[in-house]
């Protein structure tokens, strides 16, 4: 399971106007992992993502997919774009076909699949994201969350083995966020590597196996959620804030309780609190 899926080596990118957007990025994404790139607005998350399928060519450094260096000729790019699916932040950028089903069919058609196969994939992908009953609707008439799910279905239909999602939960209601995360977790269980970008701390805390903190085009740190979210200094530096659970643990520690501030998962926090032997008065709550 510990095979490297996608990696960047000293990747740098400078915009034509001279702004350096990315500086020496080294990221390693292992097969079947859920990775989050955490960073404030303007950190370079979207720019970084557009390198992953060759939309943007790095100024220096390189990208490897399945151990193979990324080439930028037409044939290789078509192949890469089948393997690496990108879901854009704004569904309106992605959904342009007059109906949902035609939009989902767009990717598979570009793979040159025959009609029956395309039809099957459209149905399968829409069922997977729970949007099958909307297949004849216009994307324009759907809600934000529904549009997002259709956008994801459009990528699923291409059967990539790694999916990159730029701010997948931004602007969605809690129910919408949950639906997206359920879909991503399911895809991940089926073996797909998932990379998301976000500044939603609580969501990342719940979702990611591994976190990279990106700020001003540089990777500040990487590690699992325990390492990242217990480091309040780091989060402050990256214009982010700690999850509520971290705040609780740190608060208790400051008050002198013997507590492990790295155990920030919700269930872990509950365990930590229990082992404190705090007498909590049980009242008759009925």
């Amino acid at each position: 399971m510990n095979k490297v899926h996608l990696s960047t080596k000293n990747l740098s990118y400078t915009y034509p106007d001279g702004t350096q957007a990315l500086k020496n990025i080294n990221i390693t994404i292992y097969k079947g992992k859920k990775v989050a790139i955490l960073g404030p607005n303007g950190a370079g998350k979207s720019t970084l993502f557009s390198h992953f399928n060759g939309l943007t060519e790095a100024t220096s450094g390189e990208i490897e997919i399945d151990g193979k260096k990324m080439e930028y000729d037409k044939e290789s790019l078509l192949k890469i774009r089948q393997q690496v699916g990108i879901v854009f932040q704004n569904p309106n950028d992605q959904l342009f076909a007059p109906t949902v089903k035609e939009d989902v069919a767009f990717g598979p058609m570009n793979l040159g699949l025959d009609y029956e196969e395309v039809k099957r994939r459209v149905k399968e992908s829409l069922t997977m994201v729970g949007m099958e009953e909307y297949s004849d609707k216009t994307p324009h008439h759907l809600s934000g969350g529904q549009q997002k799910r259709v956008a994801i279905a459009g990528i699923i239909a291409m059967r990539p083995n790694i999916m990159i999602l730029d701010e997948p939960t931004a602007g969605l209601d809690p129910e919408g966020v949950k639906k997206i995360l359920d879909i991503l977790n399911k895809l991940n269980e089926d073996g797909m590597s998932i990379v998301i970008s976000s500044h939603d701390i609580e969501m990342v805390n719940e979702f990611a196996d591994e976190i990279y903190v990106l700020n001003k085009g540089e990777i500040l740190a990487n590690g699992d959620k325990h390492e990242i979210f217990s480091n309040k200094e780091l989060l402050k530096k990256a214009h982010l804030k700690a999850p509520v659970t971290t705040e609780i643990l740190h608060g208790l520690k400051e008050k002198g309780y013997n507590i492990n501030t790295k155990r920030i998962g919700l269930n872990e926090v509950i365990e930590e609190l229990e082992q404190l032997n705090v007498t909590i008065k049980k009242e008759n709550i009925d």
Binding site: L55, L77, I86, F88, D93, Q94, P98, A105, M109, H140
Partner: protein, 276 residues
């Protein structure tokens, strides 16, 4: 914003449920073209009148309001109507009425009546088509009728973008309205108001350019290339589709036969009113 909201309403209207709405888009498109071609080549009033009656029956079956359809027709009429209005005055023939140098001739008047009849029927056909098929269905039908791939793609994207722009524009307008901007407001200087409208238009250009870039990126991310095909869902024609188109064709054959056999008995309706 009335015109834009109307465009949206049209699509809502077009998505309703009726025997006509449920017909295949191709059938509706072909029928509309057929009706237009038949009346455009008719040189008497009989064909347009029968056709109009038929279309009015279709309108009823489609559960469309006569009043609203008539209003829509009136909105479209001026485009051709401007040409018709001059016809009675400019063609040589027997003079029916004279006022100083202005004359109305029988040939001119007949020609104007014929043109008006042709146009009314054509517009009725268009109104029925557009109020019973959503825009994307018409595009889809054109594609299925073997429209060239590149044109179909452009058309498809255009229809989609129309709605994005309407949204974009109405967002800007709403934000202006909520800060009390009004184009006819007398409180602010005229020049300033015009400039604001200019900004709005400029912003639409910038936004459309950027949106175009982003869409293109997302398209190539999904493997789009010049060799790509568009997905056309294969749909079987139903019995109702066949019935509709056959009725249409039968009607045309019958009126043509009546016209050839009994043109003398039809009187004015059967007369050749054409000037060429």
């Amino acid at each position: 914003m009335a015109d834009i909201t109307k465009a949206l309403n049209l699509d809502e209207l077009a998505s309703k449920d009726s025997p006509i709405h449920n017909l295949d888009g191709r059938i509706k498109l072909i029928s509309a073209v057929l009706a237009i071609v038949v009346v455009a080549f008719s040189n008497n009033l009989f064909i347009p009148i029968v056709m109009e009656i038929y279309l009015l029956i279709i309108l009823k079956i489609a559960k469309l309001s006569y009043l609203n359809s008539f209003k829509r027709l009136l909105l479209l009429l001026p485009f051709g109507g401007a040409i018709i209005i001059f016809q009675p005055f400019i063609h040589p023939g027997n003079i029916l009425w004279r006022y100083s140098w202005i004359t109305v001739t029988d040939v001119g008047l007949n020609w104007a009546i014929l043109l008006l009849a042709r146009m009314t029927v054509s517009l009725t056909a268009i109104v029925i088509l557009s109020s019973t098929s959503p825009m994307q269905e018409i595009v889809e039908s054109l594609r299925k009728l073997k429209m060239p791939k590149d044109l179909a793609m452009i058309l498809s994207i255009m229809v989609r973008f129309l709605f994005i722009f309407i949204d974009e524009l109405s967002t800007i307008r709403k934000s202006q309205k909520s800060r009390n901007f009004h184009i006819h407001s007398k409180i602010t200087p005229y020049k300033w108001r015009v400039r604001q409208v200019g900004y709005t238009i400029a912003m639409m250009f910038v936004k459309s350019y950027e949106q175009g870039e982003r869409i293109y990126k997302s398209m190539i991310s999904r493997g789009f290339s010049d060799k790509s095909n568009i997905y056309n869902e294969k749909k079987q024609l139903l019995r109702s589709d066949y019935i509709y188109i056959i009725t249409m064709i039968l009607l045309i054959i019958i009126i043509e036969v009546i016209l050839i056999k009994y043109s003398n008995q039809l009187g004015y309706l059967g007369e050749n009113l054409s000037i060429n």
